[in-house]
Protein backbone atom coordinates (compact mmCIF):
# COMPACT_ATOMS: atom_id res chain seq x y z
CA UNK A 1 0.00 0.00 0.00
CA UNK A 2 1.25 3.43 -0.89
CA UNK A 3 2.16 5.56 2.13
CA UNK A 4 1.64 9.27 2.53
CA UNK A 5 2.29 11.81 5.22
CA UNK A 6 3.68 12.03 8.71
CA UNK A 7 2.73 9.18 11.04
CA UNK A 8 5.04 10.07 13.93
CA UNK A 9 2.39 11.83 15.96
CA UNK A 10 -0.01 8.95 16.37
CA UNK A 11 0.03 5.15 16.42
CA UNK A 12 -2.50 3.10 14.50
CA UNK A 13 -5.91 3.21 16.21
CA UNK A 14 -8.78 0.76 15.69
CA UNK A 15 -12.31 2.03 15.06
CA UNK A 16 -15.64 0.89 13.63
CA UNK A 17 -16.76 2.97 10.64
CA UNK A 18 -20.44 3.63 9.87
CA UNK A 19 -21.02 5.15 6.41
CA UNK A 20 -24.50 6.64 6.04
CA UNK A 21 -26.78 9.23 4.50
CA UNK A 22 -26.80 12.92 5.38
CA UNK A 23 -29.08 15.72 4.19
CA UNK A 24 -26.15 17.57 2.66
CA UNK A 25 -25.02 14.49 0.77
CA UNK A 26 -28.58 13.98 -0.50
CA UNK A 27 -28.82 17.59 -1.67
CA UNK A 28 -25.38 17.27 -3.26
CA UNK A 29 -26.58 14.37 -5.44
CA UNK A 30 -29.18 16.69 -7.00
CA UNK A 31 -26.77 19.61 -7.30
CA UNK A 32 -24.23 17.37 -9.05
CA UNK A 33 -21.72 14.80 -7.87
CA UNK A 34 -18.79 16.93 -9.00
CA UNK A 35 -20.03 19.99 -7.07
CA UNK A 36 -18.39 21.37 -3.92
CA UNK A 37 -21.24 20.50 -1.55
CA UNK A 38 -21.26 16.81 -2.43
CA UNK A 39 -17.48 16.43 -2.64
CA UNK A 40 -16.90 18.10 0.75
CA UNK A 41 -19.59 16.04 2.45
CA UNK A 42 -18.44 12.62 1.24
CA UNK A 43 -14.80 13.48 1.95
CA UNK A 44 -15.12 14.43 5.62
CA UNK A 45 -14.80 11.96 8.48
CA UNK A 46 -16.62 12.48 11.78
CA UNK A 47 -15.22 11.34 15.12
CA UNK A 48 -16.51 11.63 18.70
CA UNK A 49 -15.16 14.67 20.59
CA UNK A 50 -13.76 12.29 23.25
CA UNK A 51 -11.67 10.43 20.66
CA UNK A 52 -10.58 13.73 19.08
CA UNK A 53 -9.28 14.88 22.47
CA UNK A 54 -7.68 11.52 23.29
CA UNK A 55 -5.81 11.45 19.97
CA UNK A 56 -5.01 15.18 20.12
CA UNK A 57 -6.76 15.81 16.81
CA UNK A 58 -8.44 19.07 15.88
CA UNK A 59 -11.03 19.85 13.19
CA UNK A 60 -9.44 19.74 9.74
CA UNK A 61 -6.53 17.46 10.65
CA UNK A 62 -5.91 14.77 8.05
CA UNK A 63 -6.12 11.06 8.80
CA UNK A 64 -5.72 7.87 6.83
CA UNK A 65 -8.52 5.34 7.27
CA UNK A 66 -7.76 1.81 6.09
CA UNK A 67 -9.40 -1.58 5.81
CA UNK A 68 -7.94 -4.74 4.35
CA UNK A 69 -9.51 -3.66 1.04
CA UNK A 70 -8.20 -0.11 0.62
CA UNK A 71 -7.48 3.19 2.31
CA UNK A 72 -8.52 6.84 2.01
CA UNK A 73 -7.08 10.06 3.37
CA UNK A 74 -9.59 12.60 4.61
CA UNK A 75 -9.94 15.55 6.97
CA UNK A 76 -11.56 14.72 10.31
CA UNK A 77 -14.04 16.83 12.29
CA UNK A 78 -15.65 16.36 15.70
CA UNK A 79 -19.20 14.99 15.56
CA UNK A 80 -21.86 17.26 16.97
CA UNK A 81 -22.56 16.82 20.69
CA UNK A 82 -23.14 13.14 21.46
CA UNK A 83 -24.01 11.90 17.95
CA UNK A 84 -21.12 9.41 17.92
CA UNK A 85 -19.94 7.21 20.77
CA UNK A 86 -16.19 6.76 21.30
CA UNK A 87 -14.72 4.09 19.03
CA UNK A 88 -17.16 4.77 16.17
CA UNK A 89 -16.49 6.91 13.08
CA UNK A 90 -18.99 8.25 10.53
CA UNK A 91 -18.61 9.25 6.88
CA UNK A 92 -21.32 10.11 4.33
CA UNK A 93 -21.89 7.50 1.62
CA UNK A 94 -19.86 8.10 -1.52
CA UNK A 95 -16.84 7.10 -3.52
CA UNK A 96 -14.50 7.15 -0.53
CA UNK A 97 -16.65 5.00 1.74
CA UNK A 98 -17.04 2.52 -1.13
CA UNK A 99 -13.27 2.18 -1.44
CA UNK A 100 -13.12 0.78 2.06
CA UNK A 101 -15.58 -2.06 1.55
CA UNK A 102 -14.76 -5.51 0.22
CA UNK A 103 -16.30 -7.17 -2.81
CA UNK A 104 -17.59 -10.26 -1.00
CA UNK A 105 -21.36 -10.12 -0.47
CA UNK A 106 -21.56 -13.41 1.46
CA UNK A 107 -24.20 -14.72 -0.89
CA UNK A 108 -26.51 -11.74 -0.39
CA UNK A 109 -25.63 -9.34 -3.23
CA UNK A 110 -24.80 -6.69 -0.61
CA UNK A 111 -21.18 -5.95 0.31
CA UNK A 112 -20.73 -5.25 4.02
CA UNK A 113 -21.01 -1.47 3.86
CA UNK A 114 -21.59 -0.46 7.50
CA UNK A 115 -19.83 -1.44 10.69
CA UNK A 116 -16.45 -1.74 8.99
CA UNK A 117 -13.33 -2.51 11.05
CA UNK A 118 -10.84 0.23 10.18
CA UNK A 119 -7.49 1.49 11.37
CA UNK A 120 -6.79 5.21 11.62
CA UNK A 121 -3.52 7.12 11.58
CA UNK A 122 -2.74 10.79 11.32
CA UNK A 123 -1.26 11.97 8.03
CA UNK A 124 -0.24 15.25 6.46
CA UNK A 125 -2.68 17.17 4.23
CA UNK A 126 -2.30 16.57 0.53
CA UNK A 127 -1.10 19.20 -1.92
CA UNK A 128 -4.25 18.57 -3.95
CA UNK A 129 -7.29 19.03 -1.67
CA UNK A 130 -9.54 16.29 -0.38
CA UNK A 131 -10.13 12.66 -1.00
CA UNK A 132 -6.90 10.93 -1.88
CA UNK A 133 -7.37 7.22 -2.01
CA UNK A 134 -5.06 4.28 -2.30
CA UNK A 135 -6.70 1.00 -3.26
CA UNK A 136 -5.10 -2.03 -1.63
CA UNK A 137 -2.24 -3.37 -3.76
Amino acid sequence: METHGDQRAMAEEKFILIPGRTSRQGCGISEGKFGTNYREEIQTLQMSPQDMARLQLKDGDWVRVATEHGSVEVPVVAAKADELPPGVLFIAYGELSSRLMGADTHGSGMPTSKGLDVTLTKCSPPEMPAGRHTPAN
Binding site: G20, R21, G26, S98, S113
Partner: protein
Protein backbone atom coordinates in the same frame (compact mmCIF):
# COMPACT_ATOMS: atom_id res chain seq x y z
CA UNK B 1 -53.01 18.67 -12.40
CA UNK B 2 -54.17 22.26 -12.42
CA UNK B 3 -51.96 24.67 -14.35
CA UNK B 4 -52.50 28.36 -13.83
CA UNK B 5 -50.69 30.61 -16.23
CA UNK B 6 -49.98 34.22 -15.51
CA UNK B 7 -48.36 36.69 -17.83
CA UNK B 8 -45.48 38.92 -16.78
CA UNK B 9 -44.16 41.91 -18.72
CA UNK B 10 -40.46 41.10 -18.80
CA UNK B 11 -40.34 37.91 -16.73
CA UNK B 12 -40.63 34.54 -18.45
CA UNK B 13 -44.08 33.05 -18.20
CA UNK B 14 -44.77 31.63 -14.74
CA UNK B 15 -46.50 28.27 -14.60
CA UNK B 16 -47.77 26.69 -11.40
CA UNK B 17 -48.02 22.90 -11.22
CA UNK B 18 -50.10 21.71 -8.30
CA UNK B 19 -49.84 18.27 -6.71
CA UNK B 20 -46.53 17.54 -8.39
CA UNK B 21 -44.71 14.42 -7.23
CA UNK B 22 -41.21 14.45 -5.76
CA UNK B 23 -39.23 11.35 -6.75
CA UNK B 24 -36.08 11.93 -4.73
CA UNK B 25 -36.83 9.46 -1.93
CA UNK B 26 -39.27 6.63 -1.26
CA UNK B 27 -41.81 8.91 0.46
CA UNK B 28 -42.80 10.12 -3.06
CA UNK B 29 -44.61 13.21 -1.72
CA UNK B 30 -47.35 14.09 -4.23
CA UNK B 31 -48.52 17.39 -2.75
CA UNK B 32 -45.78 19.70 -4.06
CA UNK B 33 -46.62 23.03 -5.68
CA UNK B 34 -44.05 23.89 -8.32
CA UNK B 35 -43.43 27.38 -9.70
CA UNK B 36 -41.90 27.01 -13.15
CA UNK B 37 -40.28 29.70 -15.30
CA UNK B 38 -39.26 28.43 -18.72
CA UNK B 39 -37.06 25.37 -18.21
CA UNK B 40 -36.40 26.02 -14.51
CA UNK B 41 -38.32 25.33 -11.35
CA UNK B 42 -37.91 28.40 -9.16
CA UNK B 43 -39.89 27.30 -6.13
CA UNK B 44 -41.10 23.99 -4.70
CA UNK B 45 -43.69 24.63 -1.98
CA UNK B 46 -44.06 21.97 0.74
CA UNK B 47 -40.93 20.16 -0.47
CA UNK B 48 -38.34 19.17 2.17
CA UNK B 49 -34.68 20.12 1.92
CA UNK B 50 -33.96 17.09 -0.29
CA UNK B 51 -37.01 17.69 -2.48
CA UNK B 52 -36.15 21.36 -2.90
CA UNK B 53 -32.62 20.48 -4.01
CA UNK B 54 -34.11 17.86 -6.37
CA UNK B 55 -36.55 20.24 -8.07
CA UNK B 56 -34.36 23.35 -8.20
CA UNK B 57 -31.31 21.57 -9.63
CA UNK B 58 -32.89 19.61 -12.47
CA UNK B 59 -33.06 22.14 -15.26
CA UNK B 60 -32.07 21.69 -18.90
CA UNK B 61 -28.30 21.28 -18.87
CA UNK B 62 -25.97 22.35 -21.66
CA UNK B 63 -24.67 18.87 -22.45
CA UNK B 64 -24.79 16.62 -25.50
CA UNK B 65 -27.69 14.17 -25.55
CA UNK B 66 -25.24 11.40 -26.34
CA UNK B 67 -21.52 10.74 -26.05
CA UNK B 68 -19.83 7.76 -27.70
CA UNK B 69 -16.37 7.18 -26.19
CA UNK B 70 -16.45 10.78 -24.96
CA UNK B 71 -17.33 12.33 -28.33
CA UNK B 72 -20.72 13.94 -29.07
CA UNK B 73 -22.98 11.82 -31.26
CA UNK B 74 -26.61 11.76 -32.30
CA UNK B 75 -29.11 9.84 -30.18
CA UNK B 76 -29.72 7.49 -33.13
CA UNK B 77 -25.99 6.70 -33.38
CA UNK B 78 -25.88 6.14 -29.64
CA UNK B 79 -28.83 3.76 -29.71
CA UNK B 80 -27.20 1.79 -32.55
CA UNK B 81 -23.86 1.54 -30.74
CA UNK B 82 -25.52 0.63 -27.43
CA UNK B 83 -27.57 -2.10 -29.10
CA UNK B 84 -24.46 -3.48 -30.82
CA UNK B 85 -22.48 -3.61 -27.53
CA UNK B 86 -25.27 -5.38 -25.70
CA UNK B 87 -26.29 -7.76 -28.49
CA UNK B 88 -22.71 -8.95 -29.06
CA UNK B 89 -22.08 -9.62 -25.36
CA UNK B 90 -22.07 -13.15 -24.01
CA UNK B 91 -22.94 -12.21 -20.42
CA UNK B 92 -24.51 -8.74 -20.34
CA UNK B 93 -25.71 -7.04 -17.17
CA UNK B 94 -28.72 -4.71 -16.96
CA UNK B 95 -28.49 -2.80 -13.68
CA UNK B 96 -30.03 0.15 -11.84
CA UNK B 97 -33.66 1.00 -12.65
CA UNK B 98 -34.56 2.66 -9.33
CA UNK B 99 -34.71 6.29 -10.45
CA UNK B 100 -36.93 6.03 -13.48
CA UNK B 101 -40.59 5.37 -14.29
CA UNK B 102 -42.34 2.04 -14.08
CA UNK B 103 -42.87 2.33 -17.84
CA UNK B 104 -39.10 2.52 -18.46
CA UNK B 105 -38.40 -0.26 -15.95
CA UNK B 106 -40.80 -2.47 -17.88
CA UNK B 107 -38.84 -1.93 -21.11
CA UNK B 108 -35.53 -2.56 -19.28
CA UNK B 109 -36.86 -5.92 -18.07
CA UNK B 110 -37.94 -6.84 -21.61
CA UNK B 111 -34.57 -5.83 -23.01
CA UNK B 112 -32.79 -7.96 -20.41
CA UNK B 113 -34.99 -10.87 -21.44
CA UNK B 114 -34.16 -10.48 -25.16
CA UNK B 115 -30.47 -10.23 -24.27
CA UNK B 116 -30.46 -13.19 -21.90
CA UNK B 117 -28.88 -10.83 -19.38
CA UNK B 118 -28.49 -10.62 -15.64
CA UNK B 119 -31.15 -8.16 -14.46
CA UNK B 120 -30.49 -6.45 -11.16
CA UNK B 121 -31.61 -3.23 -9.45
CA UNK B 122 -30.16 -0.99 -6.76
CA UNK B 123 -32.34 -2.95 -4.34
CA UNK B 124 -29.53 -5.50 -4.15
CA UNK B 125 -27.28 -2.93 -2.44
CA UNK B 126 -30.12 -1.37 -0.43
CA UNK B 127 -32.90 -3.59 0.93
CA UNK B 128 -32.00 -6.68 -1.12
CA UNK B 129 -31.27 -8.60 2.11
CA UNK B 130 -34.75 -7.58 3.31
CA UNK B 131 -36.16 -8.96 0.04
CA UNK B 132 -34.49 -12.27 0.86
CA UNK B 133 -35.92 -12.10 4.39
CA UNK B 134 -39.44 -11.46 3.04
CA UNK B 135 -39.17 -14.73 1.14
CA UNK B 136 -37.97 -16.59 4.24
CA UNK B 137 -40.26 -15.13 6.91
CA UNK B 138 -43.01 -13.12 5.19
CA UNK B 139 -43.92 -9.51 5.84
CA UNK B 140 -46.68 -8.23 8.10
CA UNK B 141 -47.26 -4.88 6.48
CA UNK B 142 -49.63 -2.01 5.80
CA UNK B 143 -49.82 1.26 3.86
CA UNK B 144 -48.38 4.53 5.14
CA UNK B 145 -51.97 5.76 5.35
CA UNK B 146 -52.66 3.12 8.01
CA UNK B 147 -49.58 4.22 9.93
CA UNK B 148 -50.83 7.80 9.78
CA UNK B 149 -54.29 6.90 11.03
CA UNK B 150 -53.53 4.09 13.48
CA UNK B 151 -49.87 3.92 14.55
CA UNK B 152 -49.42 4.63 18.28
CA UNK B 153 -45.97 3.04 18.78
CA UNK B 154 -43.52 3.97 16.05
CA UNK B 155 -40.06 2.39 16.13
CA UNK B 156 -37.21 3.32 13.78
CA UNK B 157 -34.47 0.69 13.72
CA UNK B 158 -31.21 1.42 11.89
CA UNK B 159 -32.95 4.19 9.97
CA UNK B 160 -32.50 7.96 10.08
CA UNK B 161 -35.48 9.51 8.28
CA UNK B 162 -34.70 12.98 9.68
CA UNK B 163 -31.89 13.06 7.11
CA UNK B 164 -32.94 10.51 4.48
CA UNK B 165 -36.75 11.02 4.37
CA UNK B 166 -37.31 14.44 5.96
CA UNK B 167 -41.14 14.50 5.62
CA UNK B 168 -41.60 10.98 6.98
CA UNK B 169 -42.35 12.25 10.50
CA UNK B 170 -44.72 15.05 9.46
CA UNK B 171 -46.57 13.34 6.62
CA UNK B 172 -46.93 9.74 7.82
CA UNK B 173 -45.39 8.50 11.02
CA UNK B 174 -45.21 10.94 13.97
CA UNK B 175 -46.98 14.27 13.66
CA UNK B 176 -50.23 13.69 11.70
CA UNK B 177 -53.54 13.62 13.53
CA UNK B 178 -55.18 10.38 12.40
CA UNK B 179 -58.52 8.63 12.79
CA UNK B 180 -57.41 6.60 15.83
CA UNK B 181 -54.64 8.98 16.97
CA UNK B 182 -56.62 12.27 17.03
CA UNK B 183 -54.00 14.15 19.02
CA UNK B 184 -51.19 13.39 16.58
CA UNK B 185 -47.75 13.34 18.18
CA UNK B 186 -49.20 13.25 21.71
CA UNK B 187 -50.95 9.95 20.94
CA UNK B 188 -47.79 8.31 19.66
CA UNK B 189 -44.64 7.01 21.31
CA UNK B 190 -41.52 7.09 19.18
CA UNK B 191 -38.54 4.81 19.80
CA UNK B 192 -35.26 4.97 17.86
CA UNK B 193 -32.79 2.09 17.99
CA UNK B 194 -29.40 2.88 16.45
CA UNK B 195 -25.66 2.77 17.02
CA UNK B 196 -25.45 6.57 16.57
CA UNK B 197 -27.51 9.28 18.24
CA UNK B 198 -28.79 10.53 14.89
CA UNK B 199 -30.98 13.54 14.18
CA UNK B 200 -33.93 11.12 14.23
CA UNK B 201 -32.98 10.04 17.76
CA UNK B 202 -33.48 13.61 18.88
CA UNK B 203 -37.12 13.42 17.78
CA UNK B 204 -37.76 10.23 19.76
CA UNK B 205 -39.29 9.70 23.19
CA UNK B 206 -36.91 6.81 23.81
CA UNK B 207 -33.49 6.32 22.25
CA UNK B 208 -31.80 2.94 22.62
CA UNK B 209 -28.16 3.02 21.60
CA UNK B 210 -26.92 -0.47 20.81
CA UNK B 211 -23.42 -1.74 20.17
CA UNK B 212 -22.33 -1.65 16.52
CA UNK B 213 -23.13 -4.92 14.75
CA UNK B 214 -25.43 -6.09 17.58
CA UNK B 215 -28.78 -5.69 15.78
CA UNK B 216 -29.42 -9.41 15.48
CA UNK B 217 -28.63 -10.02 19.17
CA UNK B 218 -30.94 -7.16 20.22
CA UNK B 219 -33.80 -8.37 18.01
CA UNK B 220 -33.40 -11.97 19.20
CA UNK B 221 -33.45 -10.72 22.79
CA UNK B 222 -36.79 -9.01 22.08
CA UNK B 223 -38.17 -12.17 20.47
CA UNK B 224 -37.21 -14.20 23.52
CA UNK B 225 -38.78 -11.67 25.89
CA UNK B 226 -41.96 -11.48 23.78
CA UNK B 227 -42.24 -15.27 24.18
CA UNK B 228 -41.79 -14.96 27.96
CA UNK B 229 -38.36 -16.62 28.18
CA UNK B 230 -35.96 -15.77 31.00
CA UNK B 231 -32.62 -14.33 29.94
CA UNK B 232 -29.23 -13.83 31.58
CA UNK B 233 -29.09 -10.07 32.26
CA UNK B 234 -25.30 -9.94 32.17
CA UNK B 235 -25.18 -11.74 28.83
CA UNK B 236 -27.86 -9.48 27.29
CA UNK B 237 -26.02 -6.31 28.28
CA UNK B 238 -22.73 -7.71 27.03
CA UNK B 239 -24.27 -8.71 23.68
CA UNK B 240 -26.39 -5.64 22.99
CA UNK B 241 -24.80 -2.80 24.95
CA UNK B 242 -28.05 -2.15 26.85
CA UNK B 243 -29.36 -3.57 30.16
CA UNK B 244 -32.05 -6.27 30.09
CA UNK B 245 -34.47 -3.82 31.75
CA UNK B 246 -34.37 -1.56 28.68
CA UNK B 247 -35.44 -4.43 26.43
CA UNK B 248 -38.09 -5.61 28.91
CA UNK B 249 -39.56 -2.11 28.94
CA UNK B 250 -39.60 -1.99 25.13
CA UNK B 251 -41.31 -5.38 24.84
CA UNK B 252 -44.00 -4.34 27.30
CA UNK B 253 -44.61 -1.17 25.30
CA UNK B 254 -44.83 -3.25 22.13
CA UNK B 255 -47.40 -5.60 23.67
CA UNK B 256 -49.45 -2.69 25.01
CA UNK B 257 -49.52 -0.83 21.69
CA UNK B 258 -52.77 -0.86 19.72
CA UNK B 259 -50.97 -0.55 16.38
CA UNK B 260 -47.18 -0.85 16.45
CA UNK B 261 -44.93 -0.13 13.49
CA UNK B 262 -41.21 -0.78 12.95
CA UNK B 263 -39.57 1.16 10.13
CA UNK B 264 -36.17 -0.32 9.43
CA UNK B 265 -33.26 0.91 7.36
CA UNK B 266 -29.91 -0.04 5.97
CA UNK B 267 -28.42 -0.11 9.45
CA UNK B 268 -29.73 -3.68 9.37
CA UNK B 269 -29.16 -4.69 5.76
CA UNK B 270 -25.67 -3.27 5.22
CA UNK B 271 -24.23 -4.53 8.50
CA UNK B 272 -22.80 -7.97 9.16
CA UNK B 273 -25.72 -10.41 9.31
CA UNK B 274 -27.63 -8.57 6.54
CA UNK B 275 -30.64 -10.75 5.62
CA UNK B 276 -30.42 -12.52 9.00
CA UNK B 277 -30.87 -9.12 10.68
CA UNK B 278 -33.94 -8.39 8.55
CA UNK B 279 -35.29 -11.90 9.20
CA UNK B 280 -34.97 -11.34 12.94
CA UNK B 281 -36.95 -8.10 12.69
CA UNK B 282 -39.66 -9.65 10.49
CA UNK B 283 -39.93 -12.63 12.85
CA UNK B 284 -40.23 -10.29 15.86
CA UNK B 285 -43.02 -8.40 14.10
CA UNK B 286 -44.81 -11.65 13.31
CA UNK B 287 -44.43 -12.81 16.94
CA UNK B 288 -45.90 -9.58 18.31
CA UNK B 289 -49.15 -10.25 16.43
CA UNK B 290 -49.91 -12.83 19.14
CA UNK B 291 -50.38 -9.85 21.46
CA UNK B 292 -51.53 -6.92 19.31
CA UNK B 293 -51.44 -5.56 15.76
CA UNK B 294 -47.84 -4.98 14.66
CA UNK B 295 -46.39 -4.26 11.24
CA UNK B 296 -42.98 -3.41 9.77
CA UNK B 297 -41.79 -1.57 6.70
CA UNK B 298 -38.39 -0.96 5.14
CA UNK B 299 -37.69 2.75 4.61
CA UNK B 300 -36.83 2.78 0.93
CA UNK B 301 -34.34 5.28 -0.45
CA UNK B 302 -34.65 5.90 -4.19
CA UNK B 303 -37.83 7.45 -5.60
CA UNK B 304 -38.94 4.37 -7.52
CA UNK B 305 -36.88 1.54 -6.06
CA UNK B 306 -40.15 0.00 -4.88
CA UNK B 307 -41.39 0.20 -8.48
CA UNK B 308 -38.26 -1.64 -9.60
CA UNK B 309 -39.05 -4.45 -7.14
CA UNK B 310 -42.63 -4.61 -8.39
CA UNK B 311 -41.83 -4.48 -12.10
CA UNK B 312 -39.01 -7.02 -11.96
CA UNK B 313 -41.24 -9.26 -9.83
CA UNK B 314 -44.18 -9.15 -12.21
CA UNK B 315 -41.95 -9.59 -15.25
CA UNK B 316 -39.72 -12.40 -13.92
CA UNK B 317 -41.23 -13.69 -10.68
CA UNK B 318 -38.31 -12.40 -8.58
CA UNK B 319 -37.52 -8.91 -7.27
CA UNK B 320 -33.81 -8.50 -8.17
CA UNK B 321 -30.70 -10.51 -9.01
CA UNK B 322 -32.36 -12.41 -11.88
CA UNK B 323 -30.49 -14.29 -14.59
CA UNK B 324 -32.30 -14.72 -17.93
CA UNK B 325 -29.50 -16.42 -19.89
CA UNK B 326 -31.27 -19.76 -20.18
CA UNK B 327 -34.47 -18.23 -21.49
CA UNK B 328 -36.22 -18.52 -18.13
CA UNK B 329 -35.61 -16.55 -14.93
CA UNK B 330 -33.31 -17.80 -12.18
CA UNK B 331 -32.93 -15.92 -8.86
CA UNK B 332 -29.82 -16.15 -6.75
CA UNK B 333 -28.50 -13.20 -4.74
CA UNK B 334 -24.72 -13.41 -4.50
CA UNK B 335 -24.54 -15.08 -7.92
CA UNK B 336 -26.66 -12.90 -10.23
CA UNK B 337 -26.47 -9.62 -8.30
CA UNK B 338 -24.55 -6.79 -9.97
CA UNK B 339 -21.95 -6.26 -7.23
CA UNK B 340 -20.96 -9.93 -7.56
CA UNK B 341 -21.23 -10.29 -11.34
CA UNK B 342 -18.87 -7.33 -11.74
CA UNK B 343 -16.45 -8.04 -8.88
CA UNK B 344 -15.95 -11.60 -10.16
CA UNK B 345 -15.24 -10.24 -13.63
CA UNK B 346 -18.09 -12.16 -15.27
CA UNK B 347 -20.11 -9.53 -17.17
CA UNK B 348 -18.64 -8.58 -20.56
CA UNK B 349 -20.98 -5.59 -21.19
CA UNK B 350 -23.52 -3.63 -19.19
CA UNK B 351 -26.46 -1.26 -19.38
CA UNK B 352 -26.53 1.03 -16.35
CA UNK B 353 -29.85 2.80 -15.96
CA UNK B 354 -30.40 5.58 -13.41
CA UNK B 355 -27.71 4.51 -10.96
CA UNK B 356 -24.06 5.16 -10.18
CA UNK B 357 -22.10 1.96 -9.52
CA UNK B 358 -18.82 3.74 -10.32
CA UNK B 359 -19.36 5.68 -7.08
CA UNK B 360 -21.04 3.05 -4.96
CA UNK B 361 -19.56 -0.35 -5.76
CA UNK B 362 -16.45 -2.04 -4.38
CA UNK B 363 -13.09 -1.40 -5.97
CA UNK B 364 -12.92 -4.78 -7.82
CA UNK B 365 -16.42 -4.24 -9.22
CA UNK B 366 -15.58 -0.74 -10.41
CA UNK B 367 -12.30 -1.84 -11.96
CA UNK B 368 -14.09 -4.53 -13.96
CA UNK B 369 -16.83 -2.13 -15.08
CA UNK B 370 -14.10 0.21 -16.34
CA UNK B 371 -12.64 -2.63 -18.43
CA UNK B 372 -15.83 -3.62 -20.25
CA UNK B 373 -17.97 -1.64 -22.73
CA UNK B 374 -21.08 -0.27 -21.08
CA UNK B 375 -24.01 2.06 -21.72
CA UNK B 376 -25.20 4.60 -19.14
CA UNK B 377 -28.41 6.64 -18.97
CA UNK B 378 -28.60 9.52 -16.47
CA UNK B 379 -29.94 13.10 -16.39
CA UNK B 380 -26.72 14.24 -14.66
CA UNK B 381 -23.03 13.67 -15.20
CA UNK B 382 -21.81 11.06 -12.71
CA UNK B 383 -18.67 8.97 -12.24
CA UNK B 384 -20.56 6.21 -14.11
CA UNK B 385 -21.48 8.33 -17.14
CA UNK B 386 -17.90 9.67 -17.33
CA UNK B 387 -16.49 6.18 -17.95
CA UNK B 388 -19.34 4.91 -20.16
CA UNK B 389 -18.71 3.79 -23.74
CA UNK B 390 -22.10 5.26 -24.65
CA UNK B 391 -23.57 7.87 -22.29
CA UNK B 392 -27.06 9.30 -22.81
CA UNK B 393 -28.26 12.49 -21.13
CA UNK B 394 -31.92 11.77 -20.44
CA UNK B 395 -34.94 13.77 -19.29
CA UNK B 396 -35.68 13.64 -15.56
CA UNK B 397 -38.60 11.50 -14.41
CA UNK B 398 -41.26 13.44 -12.58
CA UNK B 399 -39.87 16.80 -13.70
CA UNK B 400 -39.86 16.30 -17.50
CA UNK B 401 -41.31 12.82 -17.95
CA UNK B 402 -44.79 11.58 -16.97
CA UNK B 403 -45.46 8.05 -15.79
CA UNK B 404 -45.92 6.07 -12.61
CA UNK B 405 -43.79 5.41 -9.54
CA UNK B 406 -44.38 3.24 -6.46
CA UNK B 407 -44.20 4.79 -3.01
CA UNK B 408 -42.25 2.79 -0.41
CA UNK B 409 -45.50 1.11 0.70
CA UNK B 410 -46.19 -0.24 -2.83
CA UNK B 411 -48.83 2.41 -3.61
CA UNK B 412 -48.56 3.58 -7.27
CA UNK B 413 -48.43 7.37 -7.68
CA UNK B 414 -48.77 9.30 -10.99
CA UNK B 415 -46.16 11.87 -12.01
CA UNK B 416 -47.06 15.41 -13.07
CA UNK B 417 -44.13 16.88 -15.01
CA UNK B 418 -43.24 20.57 -14.80
CA UNK B 419 -41.75 21.32 -18.22
CA UNK B 420 -40.61 19.40 -21.33
CA UNK B 421 -36.99 18.48 -21.90
CA UNK B 422 -35.09 18.43 -25.20
CA UNK B 423 -33.51 15.17 -24.05
CA UNK B 424 -35.17 11.80 -24.66
CA UNK B 425 -36.66 9.81 -21.79
CA UNK B 426 -35.16 6.57 -20.47
CA UNK B 427 -38.11 4.75 -21.99
CA UNK B 428 -37.49 6.17 -25.48
CA UNK B 429 -33.80 5.19 -25.41
CA UNK B 430 -34.54 1.73 -24.06
CA UNK B 431 -37.28 1.10 -26.64
CA UNK B 432 -34.84 2.08 -29.41
CA UNK B 433 -32.20 -0.33 -28.12
CA UNK B 434 -34.77 -3.08 -27.60
CA UNK B 435 -36.07 -2.68 -31.17
CA UNK B 436 -32.59 -3.17 -32.67
CA UNK B 437 -31.66 -6.03 -30.34
CA UNK B 438 -34.86 -7.86 -31.27
CA UNK B 439 -34.24 -7.33 -34.99
CA UNK B 440 -30.66 -8.57 -34.78
CA UNK B 441 -30.96 -11.44 -32.33
CA UNK B 442 -34.43 -12.63 -33.27
CA UNK B 443 -35.05 -11.77 -36.95
CA UNK B 444 -38.51 -12.59 -38.24
CA UNK B 445 -38.37 -16.29 -39.21
CA UNK B 446 -38.42 -17.13 -42.91
CA UNK B 447 -40.42 -20.15 -44.10
CA UNK B 448 -38.40 -23.31 -43.64
CA UNK B 449 -35.64 -21.63 -41.57
CA UNK B 450 -34.69 -22.43 -37.98
CA UNK B 451 -36.22 -20.40 -35.16
CA UNK B 452 -32.92 -20.37 -33.26
CA UNK B 453 -31.48 -16.92 -32.53
CA UNK B 454 -29.00 -15.53 -35.04
CA UNK B 455 -25.35 -15.84 -34.02
CA UNK B 456 -23.69 -12.67 -32.75
CA UNK B 457 -21.39 -12.56 -35.78
CA UNK B 458 -24.31 -12.11 -38.15
CA UNK B 459 -25.54 -8.90 -36.57
CA UNK B 460 -26.35 -6.06 -38.90
CA UNK B 461 -23.91 -3.19 -38.58
Amino acid sequence: MIDRERSGAAEPELKIVEDATCTFCGCVCDDIELHVQGDRIVEAKRACVLGTAWFLNHHVEDRPACLIRGKPASVEEGIHEAARILAEAKYPLVYGLSDTTVEAQRVAASLADWLGACLDTTTSVCHGPSGMAFQGVGEVTCSLGEVRNRGDLIIFWGSNPAESHPRHFTKYSLMPKGLFVPNGRRDRTCVVVDVRKTKSAKAADIFIQIKPRADFEALWTLRALAKGLELDARQVEQDTGQPLAVWQDLVERMKRARFGVIFFGMGLTMTRGKHANSEALLALTRDLNRHTRFVCKPNRGHGNVTGADNVVSWRTGFPFGVNLARGYPRFNPGEYTAADVLARGEADAALILASDPMANFSQPAREHLKRIPYVALDPKETPTTRHATVAFTVATYGINVPGTVYRMDDVPIPLRPAFPSPFPSDQEILEGIERLVRQWKYPRPQPGLSLRPAAAGSLHR
